[in-house]
């Protein structure tokens, strides 16, 4: 055997292969492993969400009694606590000297930083997305409380999964390493797969969960393969390491890297439901419980776009000329495809699903700008869209009543006569998604298109405007049905259904979404400024223990 080894190692027979010198252990024992330093207070929002979910699961499994109403209140408290925990970190990242009465002068300076050995980046971008996701959790929990009791499904599971998936979304937003990004993506996705199948007695819900799971796993595999290829091309999975590598080395053949980027885009494209990776979204939106969709439509999109922005707009910005055309194609297909396919639907949930595909196209327009204005537009859009879509699905939750099968357009006929306020609020949410002035949706679309024009893609802006006009038909169709008494041919007078009783949680959720949608529509500057200050940053870790950046820069 040793002869074989010596032949393989190409040393003369009898030659001695000297073993690599073992690291000498100090007399006290083996070498301690250097562990990365962790800035716990910067991770507080994430830890609050995770620990909150686990605590809720433990409490509720030890207390046998059903605690109606407690689950939702607890979830909202956790989400608010996570939002509050964001504040001091935001102040530190932005370099504020003090927050209220608390002195914030840090020993290790201000500004964005990275922690856990460079695997996690703490910057305004990540904090902004965290707040958006927590907002989606709050609205989702408000709706879920009444929904679950109405459907006799009340229990802590939905809330636990919602908090866990929110934690996954936060990990995605803060990930400075492709592996951590994947970890966040899976934490987010697996919880959402189960959420989609949460309605145990509704066969469509089971189907939605299974469909989302199978297609989502497939997309995750693409994503993972993309990570492997990017690692093969750059020698690092750390975004800082990749950026450093690309700053120093210009590879002659970059086919591997480009292929990796394409696979990463497939993974992201699936999560944000961009055409042609959108096929799951109408079925899943239709089948999943409406409160879950209210949460998912905002939070999953926000997390996925956060990852997309950090990887493509920040890390691979010098490859923008290569990936921009792909984003253009995805944006145009999503905007036009969403608007046109939605126009032939008769189910309100499906129409809203296509509308969300259409909106993903608009966000992609901002992504294609690939500069700071683009990031600002993406963040503004995500924040505004989360509340518009949550509001729309809040109305859907209330209207479908027990059994969750009143989603046809005809079920909304005459809503303006039985529930004028509900119909008016729904109209505003729909018009906001269409981009009508004095709503948040107008400014969201305006800034996205402006970012595209600034980046020189004026023709993309033209297509976006055209798509907005086509998409307006989707929303006006629902509005028309609500305000008109006759059927679609206008001939027969159809009696309106009974008046719908809106529960308190529903009103609260609607109020939150309404205030944000209209408030931002009238005074957009605070949100816009916050989105502008929420700059993503790739800062190398001071204690690069794992040293991916160092390893990559001295690489091939």
């Amino acid at each position: 055997m040793s002869a074989l080894w010596s032949i393989l190692a190409q040393v003369p027979p009898g030659g001695v292969i000297s073993p690599a010198p073992e690291p000498v252990a100090p007399p006290g024992g083996p070498l301690p492993l250097p562990t990365p330093s962790v800035e716990w207070e910067a991770l507080a929002p994430l830890i609050i969400l995770m620990a909150g979910a686990l605590l809720l699961l433990t409490i509720t499994s030890l207390v046998k009694r059903k605690l109606h109403g407690f689950y939702a209140a607890y979830t909202i408290a956790v989400a608010v606590a996570a939002m509050v925990a964001v504040l001091p970190v935001w102040a530190r990242v932005q370099g504020w000297p003090r927050l209220l009465w608390i002195d914030l002068t840090h020993d290790d300076g201000t500004g964005p930083f990275s922690t856990v050995g460079g695997a996690v980046g703490v910057d305004g971008f990540m904090l902004f997305v965290t707040v958006v996701i927590c907002g989606a959790v709050i609205v989702g929990a408000l709706l879920a409380n009444d929904y679950l009791r109405r459907e006799d499904l009340d229990g802590p599971e939905l809330y636990v999964l919602m908090l866990l998936s929110a934690a996954g979304g936060v990990i995605m937003a803060m990930a400075n390493d492709l592996i951590v990004l994947f970890l966040g993506l899976e934490t987010l996705s697996i919880a959402v797969y189960v959420l989609a199948a949460m309605h145990r007695r509704r066969i469509q819900s089971q189907e939605a969960g299974l469909k989302y799971f199978v297609l989502g796993s497939f997309a995750s595999a693409f994503f993972l393969y993309g990570i492997a290829m990017v690692f093969g091309a750059t020698g690092s999975t750390n975004l800082i390491g990749i950026k450093d590598f690309m700053a120093e080395v210009v590879p002659v053949e970059n086919g591997l890297l480009l292929l990796g980027l394409v696979f990463l885009l497939v993974g992201f494209g699936f999560k944000v439901a961009a055409v042609p990776f959108h096929a799951w979204s109408p079925d899943v939106y239709d089948g999943s419980p409406a409160p879950v969709v209210a949460y998912m439509a905002g939070a999953v999109k926000a997390a996925a776009f956060a990852g997309l922005a950090r990887v493509f707009m920040v890390t691979f910005s010098n490859y923008a000329n290569d990936w921009k055309p792909v984003i253009w194609a995805l944006a145009i297909l999503s905007m036009l495809g969403g608007a046109m396919l939605g126009a032939v639907q008769h189910n309100v949930k499906r129409i809203l699903a296509y509308s969300s595909i259409n909106n993903a196209g608009f966000i992609l327009v901002a992504v294609a700008a690939a500069d700071e204005v683009g990031v600002q537009a993406v963040l503004f859009y995500l924040a505004a869209y989360t509340f518009m879509v949550a509001g729309a699905f809040a109305v859907v939750t209330v209207v479908d009543r027990r059994g969750e099968n009143r989603h046809e357009l005809s079920d909304y006929r005459g809503l303006a006569h039985t529930n004028p306020v509900l119909a008016l609020v729904f109209t505003i949410f729909l018009l906001a998604q269409a981009g009508v002035p004095f709503t948040a949706g107008f400014f969201a679309k305006f800034y996205a298109v402006t970012a595209a024009v600034n980046a020189g893609a004026w023709w993309l802006a033209l297509v976006a405007l055209l798509a907005a006009v086509v998409a307006a038909f989707l929303y006006l169709r629902i509005v028309a049905v609500m305000y008109m008494a006759g059927d679609e041919h206008g001939a027969v007078e159809v009696p309106a259904g009974p008046r719908i009783r809106v529960p308190v949680g529903g009103w609260l959720a609607l109020a939150v979404c309404f205030v944000v949608t209209v408030g931002v529509g009238i005074v957009p500057s605070p949100l816009l400024d916050a989105a502008g200050e929420a700059r993503p940053a790739l800062v190398a870790s001071p204690d690069a223990v794992t040293g991916p950046a160092a390893a990559a820069s001295t690489g091939p």
Binding site: P32, L33, L54, L57, T58, S61, G232, P556
Partner: protein, 123 residues
Amino acid sequence: MSYSDFVRQYLTVAIFGGLAVGMVGLILGVGRILRPDRPQEQKYITYESGVDPVGIGWSQSQIRYYVFALLFVIFDVEAVFIFPWATRLETYGVFGLVEMGIFIVILALGLVYAWRKNVLKWV
């Protein structure tokens, strides 16, 4: 290492794969030539520990086993991570101890949940 060298390394994988396929083909082929061939009806029956098979192979199994399979995964994953960790515990120090403690507690919470949901009872 240049890019084409990197790709060329995969040649080893291809050779290894070809060798594997060829070897299996060779062994099966030799067996086919050498062995006697006397087909009988009984030889085609599925062998079930000496018991005659009953019913078809696609029969349904108890849904209860599924829960136990899931619970098994909890402990299996725990073991997969704990064994390598235990051999290097001294190197990881207090940090590693706390980390593994958190991991085990989270898994234990899952078990508590399953227990309180009466999953551990064989109904």
